[in-house]
């Protein structure tokens, strides 16, 4: 088996008439944690949405391969079932559907296998404890009335339960206090192993203080203009993005 998991080639993406991504190239191997950093409006969220083929964005050119298969134009749910997960910046609220029922349903769709309810609830409880989540949230409607922090933790919970091959975390750290960021990092560490990969999208560097990453890419104006190691993030923390403009 090849180590190569995700390969994006020369990806151009529009939102409406406007070109947002102007030729992205990115390779992610099994066992790696990648970070895409960049100022607001540089195309970070568009990159995540384009991988999941959100119909709100239009792919103009380029391709996305996952596990050697072209997934550029697959439907979002098909991509999810191939093993790609995305943690949302603003998770949607679903009234009347409990966290437990939602995740049980989603897990069944992802794995194609029946979910054993007792073992599943135990698993859920265990993860919620690790993530300092209120176990009562299990029975609450998905994200309804959740605080910003609870929503983000709930995304990490979903990642752990659905156990994808590639987890894309879109601004999961934004708006969180130091403790919540630590919890999110803990969740990522619990998830991570040599057979999966993580792509963290962020505009600040706080989460990188408690997490070891393999590659940092800097995205400015729809293009990755430089790639480096964790040190690159430290340089950006000190100098900002102005040097790349």
């Amino acid at each position: 088996m090849s180590k190569n998991m995700l390969e994006i080639k020369d990806l151009h993406v529009n939102a409406g008439e406007k070109e947002i991504l102007k030729g992205i190239n990115l390779k992610i191997n099994k066992g790696e944690i990648h970070v895409i950093m960049g100022p607001n409006g540089s195309g970070k969220t568009t990159t995540a949405n384009a991988i999941l083929n959100n119909p709100a964005y239009t792919k103009i050119n380029g391709s996305i391969e996952f596990d050697g298969e072209d997934i550029t134009n697959l439907k979002t749910d098909e991509i999810a079932r191939k093993g790609i997960f995305m943690s949302f910046q603003s998770p949607e609220e679903i009234p009347g559907v409990s966290v437990t029922n939602f995740l049980k349903y989603a897990k069944n769709k992802i794995t194609g296998e029946p979910v054993k309810i007792f073992a599943f609830k135990e698993e859920l409880k265990k993860y919620m404890e690790e993530l300092n989540m209120n176990p009562k949230n299990m029975e609450r409607s998905l994200n309804v009335g959740f605080s910003g922090g609870e929503k983000k933790k709930n995304e990490i919970l979903q990642m752990l339960v659905l156990n994808p091959k590639l987890a894309i975390l879109d601004e999961t750290d934004s708006g969180l206090d130091v403790d919540a960021i630590k919890t999110v990092s803990k969740g990522i560490e619990m998830f991570k192993n040599e057979n999966n990969a993580v792509l963290i999208i962020t505009h600040n560097t706080k989460i990188l203080h408690s997490l070891k990453v393999d590659y940092v890419h800097v995205l400015v104006d729809g293009k990755i203009i430089t790639t480096g190691s964790q040190e690159l993030a430290e340089i950006i923390e000190e100098n900002g993005y102005s040097q790349y403009k």
């Binding site: 997960f85 949302f88 009347g96 769709k109």
Partner: protein, 465 residues
């Protein structure tokens, strides 16, 4: 697997037995026809006279000028009385096989064994089965078909029959008074708590006919009851008419919960009337799921006549292609410290139309009363219609009143979010709709909540193109 299940479910509601009957009245509506129905039913004289007077009222009243267009209804094309080839039985074994099969497939005898205290089953114009748990009979609870009640409890019937809903209320109540047949009569004596529900199921099989069952429930002082009503019919090309009447008396300190799942076929005009009179310290709860029918005009009503009387209405309507569901709730606060809570929801898709039409009236004498109304609609596409027409008639300042209306669509963002978790677009929409309906479903006994979810799935089938 899932699709297959749903297909089976659709078949259940669409079972069409041969149009066999012992007697079918000729179509139309004349005094002769009413006399003939009365004769067929062995009415006492007072009931025959009552029917003929109701017909006179019917002839004088006009069709409603508001709401859905009823011009396609031609009473000359409707047979108002169809007597099935079965007498009233107290054992399912005695019910003719094709009729029994229908109820079997609808799950009625099974539910009777597991979760009901008593069952009535009506096929076309007559009740073919009625039975109740022995211990309730011993406590003096009466649960029987309406015809038996007329014969055996004339005083109770005469003092309550069409007193809560007088024939002058509107044209279809007058029609009902003239041609009513079947339905259930329940009397719960003072202080008796019926712990598990009674259910009556109404099945209309005969084409170009009408069903006019009369349900009369008296819950005496301090007693309590949960009554469930189910209805369905197979689909025919021409219109069928349902104009039932439900009269509920909830005496002082009593409790009644009335749950309905209506799943009429889409050629049905459902012009049903339901009303409750609620006494002092009494409570009336309505739970209503309205799915089928071509046109529905259904506005259950609570009249809060005693101090501290309470009512809650929880209802959902689901309109698909060609359906116009004009549903809602009416409440009159007619005493101090009364309260009403309304939680109404509607879903429309494929050009279906849902209207929430309501009345909240708080009379001058109803000081210190409370009313809170919330209605929420969900449209699944751009061609469907949703409307809210509330009338609030508040005649005293000493009240707490709130009305909240929300109309929404399923957003693409929400669909994308759910699809990113492995749900197909159809699954995602179904999940959102089920979640929307959940507050209603959780008010139903679990078997009915499951049935409601199945109906939602059926309605959603093929909805997403």
């Amino acid at each position: 697997m899932k699709t297959k299940l749903e297909e089976i479910n659709r078949n259940i509601y669409d079972i069409k037995n041969k149009d066999e009957y012992e007697f079918k009245i000729k179509k139309g509506l004349t005094a002769e026809i009413i006399e003939e129905i009365s004769k067929q039913k062995n009415d006492p004289d007072w009931m025959r006279d009552f029917r003929l007077k109701a017909l006179e009222v019917y002839n004088k009243l006009e069709l409603p000028t508001w709401g859905p267009d009823l011009s396609e209804l031609n009473m000359e094309e409707i047979a108002t009385y169809v007597k099935p080839k079965s007498k009233l039985n107290s054992s399912w074994d005695d019910v003719p096989e094709d009729i029994k099969n229908t109820f079997d497939k609808l799950g009625i005898p099974e539910a009777e064994k597991t979760s009901l205290a008593g069952v009535g089953a009506q096929y076309d114009s007559e009740v073919v089965y009625h039975s109740m748990r022995e211990d309730l009979i011993k406590q003096g609870v009466i649960y029987t078909d309406m015809e038996t009640a007329v014969r055996e409890y004339p005083e109770l019937v005469k003092t309550h029959f069409m007193k809560c809903v007088p024939v002058s209320d509107h044209k279809f109540v007058a029609l009902h008074g003239a041609v009513w047949s079947g339905g259930s009569f329940v009397y719960v004596p003072k202080g008796v708590k019926v712990d598990i529900p009674l259910q009556s199921y109404f099945r209309l099989n005969s084409p170009e006919s009408g069903q006019f069952e009369h349900t009369l429930i008296i819950v005496d002082e301090g007693a309590s009851l949960h009554f469930i009503e189910g209805c369905s019919a197979p689909k025919y090309n021409k219109v069928n008419l349902h104009a039932g009447c439900v009269e509920l008396y909830v005496k002082d300190g009593a409790y009644l919960r009335y749950s309905t799942i209506e799943n009429w076929s889409k050629n049905m005009l459902n012009l049903n009337t339901k009303k409750a009179i609620v006494g002092k310290n009494a409570k009336m709860d309505w739970v209503s799921g309205s799915f089928g029918s071509k046109i529905s005009m259904l506005y259950p009503m609570s009249i809060l006549n005693g101090e501290n009387a309470k009512t809650e209405f929880t209802g959902i309507s689901f309109a698909g292609k060609g359906q116009n569901l004009d549903n809602g709730f009416k409440v009159v606060h007619n005493a101090q410290n009364t309260s009403s809570v309304v939680n109404a929801k509607s879903i429309s898709k494929n050009g279906g139309k849902c209207t929430y039409r309501s009345l909240v009236r708080i009379n001058e004498n109803a000081k210190n009363s409370k009313s809170s109304v919330s209605c929420e609609s969900l449209m699944l596409d751009d061609i469907s219609i949703s409307d809210t027409i509330p009338t609030n008639d508040i005649r005293t300042d000493d009240v707490e009143f709130s009305h909240e209306a929300k109309i929404g669509k399923i957003s693409d963002k929400t669909i994308f979010y759910l699809m990113s978790r492995g749900l197909s677009e159809e699954d995602a929409k179904a999940m959102i709709v089920r979640g929307f309906a959940h507050p209603i479903a959780k008010e139903l006994p679990v078997e009915y909540a499951v049935e409601m979810n199945n109906l939602i799935n059926l309605e959603l089938e093929g909805a997403i193109g």
